[in-house]
Structure formats: structure tokens, C-alpha cells
């Protein structure tokens, strides 16, 4: 194809619009929120800010980080995955059941299985055109039932702890392995997303699905992939929980759903899709974990703890959300 000849002069040298200080700051808001919260907790109870205490926090946060990271992809595509927690519970049961037979391969098997289940939900969403909210809400109750039935409605002990022992180790004596794995998940997914066209596709899908489709972006495949990764992350989080609890149980992770979604939103990712990132969810998950464990430990009574929790997550989102990317807040 020959080059079109254009007679008009090129526009004046394009001036680069540099981000203002304010814009730069919004990008770091999740981290700022995290630091402020940590400072506040330290003021409330100076003994909270110890190395062992921080180690415990990140160890605790690891499964939540992984869960939130996976679901972030779905949220970025404009959907939501409400099944992550139930799928994670199912994952713990599967892990505990398969470990005696599969040994070292169990981790891969569980991640593959939950990934496949996630993909199935993605396919149902894409091909049946059911809103992701409904597909995954249905998935939530179905996985709950399956987990209940196959586990015979009870926890399954994991006797062979060797398989998950490595997750309970510490890197350099302070960094829990589980958290390292969580960081790795975030880093790998972020890198893949960042350096391939995926980033464009995901954001285009999230901001404007029909435009993305008409630009022949692989919208359906991207969505299914997002659900698959979300499912796989639920599986990985399940293994982390098993390594911590030495058992699998059909309801083990059910209560992590709202914290995980909260982590995503607290990180500043737009719940309507398009804008956000995985590392924001990482910071968000740490904030949520600090609130969950920090408030009671520094001695806030349980009733006030809930009130504070409610107020602080709202305040955190008020801080972290980059509103310049969102025209309307729903």
C-alpha cells in the first residue's frame, strides 16, 4: 500500500502533557493509605510496629492478595467474580482429597482444576450472555454445594505436611514464602499484561466492550482468560490456606469474598472496569488485612471495630480512587 500524500502541514510540535504532581500522587495513593493506616495503628499501640508483627501481617495477607489479584483482572474487564471465595474453599477440599494420591503434583492439579472451573464460568458468561454477577453468584452456591458433598460436609485433615511445607518457610528469615509467592503472582500477571497486547485488550474491554469488539479485540477470549486466571488464583490461595490450616474444609474461605472485593476497590481499581491494576490490589489487600487483624489486636472493642472498619475502608477508597478516569461514580 502506498503512503497517502497529505498536503497539510503537520501540527505544531506536539507538546508532551506531563502528569501533574497531583496525578503522580494519585498513582501512589494506595501505598500512602497503607502507610497512614500503619502509622495510626502504631500510635494506638506502639508495640504493633515490630518486625515479627509485620511479618505476621504479610503472611496473613498472602491468600487475600492472590484472590484479589485474580479477581482484579475480571473487574478490569468490567465484570465481577463473586465465586472466588467459594472456589477457594472447594480448592482446599480438592487439595486435601487429592494430596494422598498425587503428592507433589497436587498443587498443579488444584490450580488447573480451579482454573478450568473459572474458565467454565467465563464461557457461560460469554456465550450465554449472562451478567458475570449472576454467573458467579450461581457459581458461588454451586461450588459450595459440591465442596460440601465431596467432603462429606466436614474438614479433611492433611497429614502429609511436606507438600505445603515450603509455603510456611521464610525468606531471609522475615519474608514469608506465601507472601513471596503472592508477590510473584502479582508481578508475573502484571508483567504479562504490561508487555503484551493484553493490557490494551483488557482495558478496552473494561472501558467500552462494544468498541473493543468492533476493533476486533478478542473480547470473549480476554474475558474467559480473566475468569480462568481468577479461578487459578483461587486455587493457589486455597493451597496457601491449606498450608496454614493443615486441612481443607468446604467453607474455609467463604468469608474472604467481601474482603477480596474490598481489597480491589480500596486499591483504587474502578469497580466498573477499565481503570486499575494488580499492584493496587496488592496494597488494597494489605490495607484490608491490617484492618481485619490490626484493629482488634490494638484493642479496639468489637462493636467499635466494625464501625471503624466501615469508616476506614470508605475513607481509603475516597483517597485512592483516581476520579479523573471516571466520568460517573455509580
Amino acid at each position: 500500500m502506498s503512503t497517502p500524500v497529505v498536503t497539510k502541514p503537520a501540527p505544531d510540535a506536539a507538546t508532551v502533557a506531563r502528569p501533574t504532581v497531583g496525578q503522580r500522587l494519585t498513582a501512589f495513593m494506595p501505598v500512602i493509605a497503607l502507610v497512614v493506616l500503619l502509622a495510626a495503628l502504631t500510635v494506638a499501640d506502639p508495640s504493633f510496629l515490630t518486625q515479627s508483627s509485620l511479618t505476621a501481617v504479610v503472611r496473613t495477607a498472602a491468600p487475600l492478595v492472590v484472590l484479589a489479584a485474580g479477581a482484579t483482572l475480571v473487574v478490569l474487564c468490567g465484570g465481577i467474580d463473586l465465586s472466588i471465595a467459594a472456589l477457594c474453599s472447594l480448592g482446599t477440599v480438592l487439595f486435601a482429597m487429592w494430596l494422598p494420591d498425587l503428592g507433589g503434583l497436587t498443587l498443579l492439579a488444584v490450580v488447573a482444576a480451579t482454573g478450568a472451573i473459572g474458565a467454565l464460568q467465563g464461557l457461560a458468561h460469554v456465550f450465554l450472555r449472562i451478567p458475570s454477577f449472576i454467573v458467579t453468584l450461581g457459581g458461588m452456591s454451586i461450588f459450595g454445594a459440591v465442596a460440601l458433598v465431596i467432603s462429606d460436609a466436614g474438614p479433611i485433615r492433611v497429614v502429609d505436611r511436606e507438600a505445603t511445607h515450603w509455603l510456611t518457610l521464610y525468606l531471609a528469615g522475615v519474608l514469608p514464602m506465601a507472601f513471596v509467592v503472592a508477590l510473584l503472582v502479582v508481578a508475573v500477571v502484571w508483567t504479562v499484561q504490561r508487555f503484551t497486547p493484553l493490557d490494551s485488550w483488557i482495558r478496552a474491554t473494561g472501558y467500552s466492550e462494544s468498541a473493543a469488539r468492533l476493533a476486533s479485540a478478542p473480547v470473549d477470549r480476554v474475558k474467559v482468560a480473566a475468569f480462568t486466571v481468577s479461578g487459578a488464583c483461587a486455587g493457589l490461595a486455597a493451597v496457601m490456606l491449606v498450608s496454614r490450616n493443615f486441612s481443607g474444609s468446604p467453607t474455609m474461605a467463604d468469608n474472604l469474598l467481601l474482603p477480596a472485593v474490598a481489597a480491589i476497590v480500596v486499591g483504587g481499581t474502578a469497580i466498573t472496569g477499565g481503570h486499575g491494576s494488580l499492584w493496587r490490589s496488592l496494597a488494597g489487600a494489605l490495607v484490608v488485612t491490617l484492618l481485619r487483624v490490626g484493629l482488634p489486636i490494638v484493642g479496639v472493642p468489637s462493636a467499635y471495630e466494625q464501625i471503624l472498619y466501615g469508616a476506614i475502608i470508605v475513607a481509603a477508597v475516597a483517597l485512592t480512587l483516581d476520579r479523573s478516569k471516571l466520568l460517573i461514580i455509580k
Partner: protein, 315 residues
């Protein structure tokens, strides 16, 4: 009427037909009453959530608001914890507290510009905290005759609670159809930016919708208290997702601008019939949740089949 509107109704009829065929117990009049009674609280709560969904927002504050209003009402009417005996005034005050909490979600949404998903999640936690504070370790049991009577007294075969729910649905429908608040809520879901271009300040309406929703949840909390004879902090547990499910199953769009109170009520009946029918048919308790999830997905899938092949966006 499009298939989108009638689809859930057809699904309801089909499911009722199937259960009626499978279970003789389902076919009885007393079971019909039972279903209506069981649907009452969910119907009231769903009324509230429908207006929020219609705007394209979401509301997860139900458990907290219902818990707070349940405890409040239990402590204000005749009870075993204190000497209050405010009767219906107590009910009104509890609903006022609930509306206040709802207002809080709305204010946080429009003033702090935090998405409703988060503000309502936060308000739910605040509500539960307030409820726990008021609970103070001792279960408040109500001895107020009127309130306890709501669950027991029947008129034309239906309990007072059911009639309250019917009234709420009617009021909800009128608000949606005949008031500026309802129509604007609908319009906000359709095209919020256009309202701004037309010189409408949408903020007060958003706050008002959340406040109204809060009032509905508050009434729901009062109704649970009347049913259980005691104020429970957990009075609203699970109502967040079940109300949203009911609304969506009934054809109210999560993205807003579509559906309404009547749609949602069909959804409520559908969900309630399912719960009731599965027990009567004798599905194992282990499987009930799963079967219910499957049917909900199937029902929504069936409802969207007619428009499935359009190049339409599903989120």
C-alpha cells in the same frame, strides 16, 4: 411487553408448575400462604434495593441496616431489657435510624465520590457495629402485642407481614411511576450525564434513593424482629445477595435504567418458591444451595436468550 419483562413471569409459572407436579404438599393452600409469608421480608428489602439498582448503583448495606433497625425496634417497643413501650412510634424510630444509615451511604457516594459498592459495604459494617453496641450481650425479646401480632394475625389468609409487604410493593411501584424521585432514579440509570446537562442536580436524588432504600431495609429488620420475637444483630444476614439476586432474576438490570419494583417482586416470588419447593420435593440439604444457584443462572440465561445474538454488552 417484551420478553424481557414477561420472561421471569413465565419462568415463575414453569417452576411453580414443576413443583406442583412433583410434590403434593406444594399444591396446598397452606403452602401458598407459607410462600407468601416467607417472601414478605425479602419483598420489602428488594423494593429498596430495586431503586438503587435502577440507578445503576449497588447496595450491600442490607445486613448492617437491618441488624441496626432490628435491635433498635426491639429496644424501643415493650421488651425484656428496658421499660420502653413506644409501640408503633418505636417502629417508626427504628425505620428512621435505618433511613439515616441509608442516607449515610448516599452522602458518602455523592460527597466523597466513593462507589456505592464500597460506601454500602462500609455502612453495613457500621450498622452491625451499632447493632452490636446496642445489643450489649443480652438478647432483647419483644413483648409488644402489636409487633408480635404482625407475624401471627391473618387477614384473608395472609399474615399482617405479608400485607405490609404488599403495601410496600404498591408504594414502591407508585414511587417509581408517579414521583420525581422514582422517575429520576430510573433516568439516572439510563443516562446520568444527560440529567446534568438538563440542569438537574442528581446528588440529592441519589441520596434520597439510598435513604428510601434504607427505610425499606429498616422495615425489613422490624419485620424480622416481629417474626422472631427478638431483636437479632444478624437479622439481615444474607439479605444483601438474596435481594439483589431476586431483583436481577426479575429483570432489573444491574447496569441500571431497566426493570422496577414489579419485576423485582416476580423475582422475589421465584426465589422464594425455589427455596420452598426444593425442601418440599426433598432435595438433600447439601445440594439445595447448588440447585438453587443452577436454577437462578438457568432462569436468567433463558430470559436473555431472545436477545443473546445481538452485539450487546454484558458485564
Amino acid at each position: 411487553m417484551s420478553f424481557r419483562d414477561t420472561g421471569p413471569l413465565i419462568a415463575l409459572v414453569v417452576i411453580v408448575g414443576i413443583f406442583a407436579a412433583l410434590s403434593p404438599g406444594f399444591r396446598t393452600l397452606s403452602n401458598a400462604q407459607n410462600i407468601m409469608d416467607a417472601a414478605a421480608v425479602l419483598a420489602v428489602v428488594t423494593c429498596g434495593v430495586t431503586f438503587v439498582l435502577m440507578m445503576g448503583s449497588i447496595d450491600l448495606s442490607t445486613p448492617g441496616i437491618m441488624g441496626a433497625s432490628a435491635i433498635t425496634v426491639a429496644l424501643l417497643v415493650a421488651n425484656n431489657r428496658n421499660d420502653n413501650e413506644l409501640g408503633l412510634l418505636g417502629v417508626a424510630l427504628a425505620i428512621l435510624v435505618a433511613a439515616g444509615l441509608g442516607c449515610l451511604s448516599g452522602l458518602a457516594l455523592v460527597l466523597l465520590k466513593v462507589p456505592s459498592f464500597m460506601t454500602t459495604l462500609g455502612v453495613s459494617a457500621v450498622g452491625l457495629g451499632v447493632a452490636t453496641l446496642l445489643f450489649a450481650g443480652v438478647q432483647p425479646n419483644i413483648s409488644d402485642g402489636t409487633l408480635s401480632g404482625w407475624a401471627v394475625d391473618r387477614f384473608l389468609g395472609l399474615s399482617t407481614l405479608t400485607w405490609i409487604a404488599v403495601a410496600c410493593v404498591l408504594v414502591g411501584w407508585m414511587v417509581q411511576r408517579y414521583t420525581r424521585l422514582g422517575r429520576y432514579a430510573f433516568a439516572i440509570g439510563g443516562a446520568e450525564e444527560v440529567l446534568a446537562l438538563s440542569g438537574v442536580n442528581v446528588k440529592p436524588y441519589k441520596v434520597a434513593v439510598f435513604t428510601m432504600a434504607g427505610a425499606f431495609y429498616g422495615l425489613g429488620g422490624v419485620m424480622v424482629t416481629s417474626q422472631l420475637g427478638a431483636g437479632l444483630v444478624q437479622a439481615g444476614r444474607g439479605y444483601d445477595f438474596s435481594a439483589i439476586t431476586a431483583a436481577v432474576v426479575g429483570g432489573t438490570l444491574l447496569a441500571g435504567g431497566r426493570g422496577g419494583v414489579l419485576h423485582s417482586t416476580v423475582g422475589v416470588l421465584l426465589v422464594t418458591v425455589l427455596t420452598n419447593g426444593l425442601v418440599l420435593v426433598g432435595v438433600s440439604p447439601y445440594w439445595q444451595g447448588g440447585v438453587q444457584g443452577l436454577i437462578v443462572v438457568a432462569a436468567v440465561a433463558a430470559a436473555v436468550i431472545p436477545q443473546r445474538r445481538r452485539n450487546q454488552v454484558t458485564k
